[in-house]
Symmetry: C2
Subunit: 339 residues, 2 copies
Amino acid sequence: MARIALDAMGGDHAPEATVAGALLALGDIDPAHSIQLVGRTEIIRERLETLLTGEFAHAASWRDRLEIIDAPDVIAMHDKPVAAIRSKPNSSMAVGLRLQAAGQSDGFVSAGSTGAQMAASAVILKLHEGLLRPAIPTVLPTSRQPVVLIDSGANVDCSPQELVQFAWLGAIYAEDILGRSAPGIALLNIGEEPEKGSKEVKDAHKLLQQQEALAFRGNCEGRDILSGQNSHGQVDVVVCDGFVGNVLLKFYESVAPLAFEALKRAGVDRRLLERGFKAFDYSETGGAPLLGVRGVSIIAHGSSSARAVKNAIRVALRAVESHMDEHIGRRLPVKVETS
Amino acid sequence: MARIALDAMGGDHAPEATVAGALLALGDIDPAHSIQLVGRTEIIRERLETLLTGEFAHAASWRDRLEIIDAPDVIAMHDKPVAAIRSKPNSSMAVGLRLQAAGQSDGFVSAGSTGAQMAASAVILKLHEGLLRPAIPTVLPTSRQPVVLIDSGANVDCSPQELVQFAWLGAIYAEDILGRSAPGIALLNIGEEPEKGSKEVKDAHKLLQQQEALAFRGNCEGRDILSGQNSHGQVDVVVCDGFVGNVLLKFYESVAPLAFEALKRAGVDRRLLERGFKAFDYSETGGAPLLGVRGVSIIAHGSSSARAVKNAIRVALRAVESHMDEHIGRRLPVKVETS
């Protein structure tokens, strides 16, 4: 009986994809759960009526599991994140997260501006004690088990201490959500040797070696990410700063369409291609939790379809049910010692 | 009538692949050119005899276009680059580069340690005036024209000034080797907005805007690299620090084999796959010139096959013939003004 607040105004295809996504989710999740649609009441209501009298006529009876929460302000993609949170206190993001802080909601999902959601979540939900910054994990398919890349949330200029905290957040995520025990942690670098890399990465390497409760497997290189291992063993979590993570993931997303086209031109059957590339499509995972905040804030892709929104709501439910947030609060070392 | 010095000892498959690569090259390039095999004389001679009396019997008459230059020291992959250059003055790298500095050779090719080659080239050939660091460009296939990613040479902790110099080096390379006029330059970042990114990247953005002789197209994101354009137009050169470039390229190299396997499992015919993936295989390009040194130093992949070595020798010849080195010396702004 969890209540998930959905930012109905966030994302490239809002409110169409968000409202439809909520209806798809209601048909898919346990009937004990409900969804709070946060945004401009008139817009949401109009969209909802259109869908419930058309495409989603079968969903009319789920109406009592849907609540509309008014949030008149709208954050645009070009708004500066922190300023937007301050100057638009009644945006769908701020209202949705405040519901949770007040105990009236259990999780929040948005496909809006990632920067604004990170800022609003940190301000409204607050960070766990000792944490310097929240981070976003992305689960990538590999030739073995899926691997967690953290941070993919565009945290730039990360300190060695922050990289160590990302390792901890990734480890707890890998345990709670992927079911790994003692997940292997690797630091993304230009070589496996500890003396390689930028100043921050070299210092982070030293600090990670001191984290006795983490299974640190040393550095991994770009080529090791998708193999799920380095020369020291299985890698479940790859740690990097958000600049590298962001560039890498956006690059990765662009490879499959290019390969798809090249193979189609080479004469490969489209249906075989679709089947083969399915393993690489992680857009359907829906969203990733912002790790480190006290609560559940799920970041969905800006281009989320209704199906992706539905999946993001499922991710929120899994985060609520796994109590990952509490585990992070309990297990995160309050202070990373500097050497 | 260029003389190319080949590091016969460098690379995972040396001296087999290097000596065989030299013979392949001799059959492929203008007969006026010659090759200098640099390394341990006995080892090279033995290998050469084996090949010339076996697989390469047809090449016996090319012998007078081959010279063996003795270099008794060997640099191992685990040697620290700068220290190795100092402590092993008669390594194949040092000897090969000194030949060029002395005017007895026109270009140098090695598949050995990239770090050692960068250090030795900077020390022995020297850098152009005002240049802070040399850089390595990599040419990537895109859905349009190929694009130059610079730096891919593992230069870490790059200053904004260094990033601007990489942009200049990349532009001249794109003109001389890829034949682009007024190549479009983009700065790799986490968003197109100038205020995004790390401190270094934000400052580099400001400096690049002041380079009136460069066609600066602003930032590009990870997804734009393989599309060869951003919202401001065609992108011929993508500028990033060597940490990001290294991680990105090694990651990219690992994607194709993974996709290949997934598609084979999905039932796609192996030959169609090989044809389709050919466009993504840039290992056969042979090597990339170290840009910014006074001379020609071609960095080949450590895992170079004989065919890749042959191609690297061709790259060296193209660099010699295009006089790219002189163009860099003439056109590089001696000092990048800080704002």
